[in-house]
Amino acid sequence: MSAVADSLQEVHAERIATTPRLAILPALNEEGSVGQVVAEIRAFDPGFEILVIDDGSTDATADEARRAGSRVVRLPYNVGIGGAVQTGYQYARDHGFQIAVQIDGDGQHDPRELKQLLEPIARGTADMVVGSRFLGEQLYRAPFARRLGIRVLSAVVSLIIRQRMTDPTSGFRAVNRKGIVLFADSYPHDYPEAEANVLAARHRLTLVEVPVAMRTRAAGRSSITVVRSLYYMIKVSLALFVSVFRRYPALEDR
């Protein structure tokens, strides 16, 4: 790395440090991990306001999050990941945040990777940055069926947005104000990640994928089962297919 590159990095870091930024953590029964994730975000960058969206947990998720120093929004009942995340973007929109990052409350996303996620936004080269498990070093090994499913979705999403997306189901991402306003306004309901990428791209937001390492879950269990996976693939395929025939207006800056 040259000195010029280093100083550029510093400029970007400074730009981020002066920008109001929110970390959105959707969490459902993650009392075992959410506190640690909140602590890790604060350690990475104390300037982040952290908002845990408790999607109807029946355990102490909200208490643990508050104890770790996060604001908590408790949904009155389980609305699903899409609705939960959208609540976070609405908070970001209503409180004037310029950057929002989305991190799972289960601990599989390492907050230290936020550095890579935020860089293109600080530089102004992307409106939305998605952390990919499949770019760069292949540390992540998913079970075969899931890998296949992701492959298929990756091909479909890439085809629709005419840009290579290696990890369309990743829920680890950062957006600027444009992305915040878009997602606050419209966000897919269940299993939203792949559709959200298409939504953003079709609204002419600039998408960038960056390689990130992901951890295995710290606690709790993934909510994915065989029947659900099947429903997931059918539902998402249908939604992606229909999206091809929709019109998406370009966004004005708000």
Partner: protein
Amino acid sequence: MTPLRISIVAAVAAVIVLVVVFELIRSRRLQERYALLWLLTGLVIFVLAVWRGLLGWMAGLVGIAYPPSALFVLASIFILIVLLHYSTVISELSERNLALAQRLALLEQELKEIGEARRGDPRS
């Protein structure tokens, strides 16, 4: 064998169902999750309308002498399934509606008390 005219009418009807459902999803008046059963219904009716041998075989299997009746029976079964599905959806909605009303009432009461406490406080 199913009369050709019935097959054609059934196939056209199924295609109309599929197109209408698609357009409803596209214009965001129907969510994908509530469209899946309709799409399945349309697809099954379409396949059986076009593949007349399969319809005849299925009718024979359950002892229906006139194959087009089997088409009707099947369509009715699907409509029943869709209706039953909606009953569960309505139940869930009413449950959530109740939860929202309760939460709202409790929040309103709390907000009112906070407001009153503030008004009673001369410093504010």
